[in-house]
Amino acid sequence: MIVGQIPLREFSMLISNQGLRVVIGPFNVCIITTYQPLIVQLHKLYKNYELAQDEIAEFHVRIVATRPIRKPLSVYVRFLLDGQSPFADFPEEQALAVLEWGINLAIAIRVNNLMLLHSAVLERNGHVLLFPAWPGSGKTTLSTVLCHRGFRLFSDEFGLMDPQAGVFFPIPRLMPLKNESINVVKNYLPEAIFGQEIPNTQKGTVAHVRPPEESMRRAQESAKAKWIIFPKWIANSKLDLLSLPDSEAFMLLASNSFNYEILGETGFQAVTSLIKTCICYKLVYSEFDDVLAAIQTLTDDI
């Protein structure tokens, strides 16, 4: 059963009381909130999330509304992970962004049985493409475009890899576009389903895009990586897809991991194996049409 099969009224009761338990990639996440504007947004944007059958949830998160002592007339929201608040309260209109960041944080700090790469991950023709990059490099924008043009979304943020088996697990989540990229993507992908624009966040204006239905439906289908592409969006640049030496790719990839050092030798072996089995590139681009054509050609050739 998916969220979209539950009427809003029942959905609201569920998430307000026992909690909404959804399957997010290899994890079950239990979300509780009574904050109605967030409930309405989640009902729309989480439409294709599968409800967890298992009672066990790896992450228990909550969004609660609060009134700060210094601003008693304003409503703020607080993110709680297992009852603890890992960061400050935020204005109420940022509730969705706070929930999504909070779940990301929970994954980033708690998951150490898997190699966690800071990378967009997409799949085509049965093989995964990694786009490792730090925030601000355009990973989310590129992921949004690719997953609406024939690539299956694994994640715009996390490469979740079993370090022994070398397989990646999909963890498709809402894609938070920022600032100028919101309108650029709206124009390029009129079919994309957007949440409300959330102004004045730490990252400027944010609008979340719902992952395509097929990516959600196939969220339990893992795959191995074949290409590692370090992307960089530069305004007005010509497309450039250059081979990258393995040694440079190794250091870039290891430095893009959340838990490389924690995993120790296991992390080293995992990255080594990944580099040995993948073809590595550096990508510079500015136009979606160009980058789509280049990556389609690359992934046709298997």
């Binding site: 040694s247 190794f250 250091m251 290891a254 490389y260 050092e261 120790g264 030798e265 080293f268 072996q269």
Partner: protein, 70 residues
């Protein structure tokens, strides 16, 4: 190269790899190492080369990748 005792990863060039692998077989003096490297990489083993290798060996020693023996 992964250093299990320190949990650190080191990016080594070809000459550094040669030094580590050479020393992993048996202890050697700086002169012996320089001679081996000069032959392998077709370089002149002059005073500057010796100094560079000596610096590299000290650096490796500080990192715990090699250990000085008497």
């Amino acid at each position: 190269m992964f250093q299990p005792e320190a949990g650190k990863t080191h990016l080594l060039n070809r000459m550094s790899i040669k030094i580590i692998t050479y020393l992993s077989q048996a202890p050697a003096s700086t002169d012996e190492i320089c001679h081996t490297l000069a032959v392998k990489f077709q370089l002149t083993s002059d005073a500057a080369f010796l100094r560079n290798i000596d610096n590299t060996l000290h650096h490796f020693d500080a990192l715990g990748l090699i250990k000085k023996v008497k």
